[in-house]
Amino acid sequence: MSILHNVQDTGRIEVIQNKLKRENSLTDTAFLLTITISLFIAIYALSIVFLGDKGFSKIQMFFNLFNENAALIVIACGLSIVMITGSIDISVGGSTALICTACIVCLNNYGFNFFTSLMLALAIGLTFGVVQGFLVAYLEIQPFIVTLAGMFLGRGLVALIEVNQIQVKNAGFEMLSGARILIPFLGDINKKGVFIQSKLEYGVIVAIIIVCLMYWLLRKTSLGRSFYAVGGNPQSALMLGINVKRTKFYAHLLCGLLAGIGGFLYLFHTRSGSVQQATGLEMDAIAASIIGGTLLTGGVGNIFGTLFGVLASGTVLLIVTAIGSQDPWWPQITRAAMLCFFIVLQSFICSRKK
């Protein structure tokens, strides 16, 4: 573009350049990510110092944070993506419950194995994603309502398939899900003096791979960037030549797919299914995304932030449990108070930055 160089004007640049000095070069996304990571590190470090005797000094405790939250990490990734696109999906808890029950029924009664049940889980997740994506993107129905219907549908279908609680009775699957990665040289000595080696579930590896994959997708592919554009301002995105409808559709599809994977990890971890399975999972995932610096208004968010969001909210839960209480109401209230602290702090820092 030679012509661009022809038009030079340096005088004006200087005038406005001092304006630029005031402006932070960090984008909103990067800024919120930094907050989340530092918050997580801070609270975990504090728990080690003050609650070390409640298990926080153990390495396994840290690994458990991952073991218990692998599914949530994957699901929250999906939610972050739809939230970045300016949409929402509250059906993930329902679809997780459906996946668990459907897979168990098939594993136990229809001779499914690990692989075919995985395919089933993906198919269910994808179906949710595709249908919801279609309704949201192409029929322009409010995502909250569409996915609320999805949530109802998922939970309701569980009851139609199997009202009872069920458990996986499939040797192959049980063997695989019981397998653990033993981490060499790491472990804790318990108070009876026994050395217990640290273990990591295979689901965690899947979750980490997915986090990296999604990070790459959001950062390095044009689809990922259009998620941000559409979330930032759909009207502008359209004018910039982005196929807004298709982008929204893909976001929901991806979220559905990740809910499928997450649901399967959930099953892989708990090996059980019921109507009540994963109640409130959607809210946990949304909370984690938000703590991770994804804005519900769209356009801002980062997958690593989401990962740390899950870890941070998981740590909060650990802390609440570790402190314990005779009165049943304190844990939830403490948890909410910490959530409140996170959210207010984030908004405070954001407004200070502006």
């Binding site: 661009l4 038009v7 402006e23 984008t27 941000y228 979330g231 910039l240 356009g299």
Partner: protein, 507 residues
Amino acid sequence: MQDTVLTMRGIYKSFPGVRALQNVDFTLCEGEIHALMGENGAGKSTLIKVLTGVYSKNAGEICIKGINKPHIKSPQEAQKLGISTVYQEITLCPNLTVAENLFIGRTNNLFVNWKKRNSRAECILQGLGIPAKPAQQLSSCSIAVQQMVAIARAVDMDCKVLILDEPTSSLDDQEVAKLFALMRELKSRGVGIVFVTHFLEQVYEVCDKITVLRNGELVGEYQIKDLPRVELVAKMMGKELGDLAEIHNKTQSNTNDSKEVIIETEGLSSTSGIKPFDFTAYKGEVTGFAGLLGSGRSECVRAIFGADKVTNGTLRIKGEHVNITTPIKAMKKGIGYLSEDRKRDGIIGDLSVRENIILALQVMRGFFKPFTKAQAQAFADEYISLLGIKTASADTPISSLSGGNQQKVILARWLLTHPNYLILDEPTRGIDIGTKVEIQKLVLKLASEGMSITFISSEIEEMLRTCSRLIVMRDLYVVGELKDEDMTQDKIMYTIAGGETQNVQKQ
């Protein structure tokens, strides 16, 4: 002599209650800059949006570079066909970086190479002298820079047709000059350019041909040399233009008015960063704030209105010391403020024209005293006819009016409150020449009736015509005050360039 790149034939487009385009033809040749002119609401933006697939047309044919009836269903397809567009409202994504805004949606590449992208962007930004970093988030740039980025994006595309819908509305002279140089360069490379603006001088400076629209219908296509200004204006308005000289005369007589002080500030400053300033407004006088883009004109008046938090200084209204912390207090004291960014700070999109008109007065009346529907309708009808607002009905949502008509609605809103002191921050931005003159006349009429008015505009002539005193600003400081014979373009330029700050003068 030239090949046509674009022909539109018999375009029809209607919105609920409005016929925006009726049987419009438009032809664009290679290497030509073609002005699309018309009053507010004439249908210029609509024609452009039909062309780029934002709206689907009701009837008509489009032919691009020999492809008959190309399938343009979305801006994306328009881009693929070599049409690149800068829309009237800045249409970029505020949450992305400058570099991304330059490139997103343009390639079919699945992957993004950030390094390459940023260095390319750096190159483009530097080439155009846009003071922004590629990795900077767009929302942290000023409006003008955003507009330049939008232009840079459109220009950088390898296009056959470039459409610029009022690209200059928030640019200053140097930036406009830069843009024109760019347009000429592109023209010489055979790109056809559609240029929409309300600045007649700009049209005559760069354009080759003019197509005039009026009320959604085609008036005609003219060579620039065949159409003198006066005639162009007449064509746009469908009638002869009122005499501008007449306006000026009135202004002169204004200065002799009684000198009752309405507003007086002393060392006022606000959180927006404006430096302490002194300012006095007299009854029946039109004052103006002049300065370059971003010099803090808006900030001054916002501080008076209480729109930004005042940090220091005092404000007296009619000699009485008042403490204005919120707009409502200012309104109750008889101040009105028509804000600069119409879309963001002015209109309330989904509310009807009627509700938009009565809003400010209603708020002043209080929470428990709503107007009856009949009262509200009466107010709305009065001002719709007074200002000649083009709207299907008072029930139409304001967002479906054209930019200029929206502006009139907002003006009506403030006139309805009958303020003693009315601040008009860029009331003429994006408004056609006819309306501009009307608004200027209105300002003078109001002033002659005793209202004190502050009129801010990026067009210095406009201010010279209407204002009897000018406050000149630079870099958030008030650097001078000009009146009577000092009020010439040169003098203003000189003051902006080298005048001393108010504070320094005092010492």
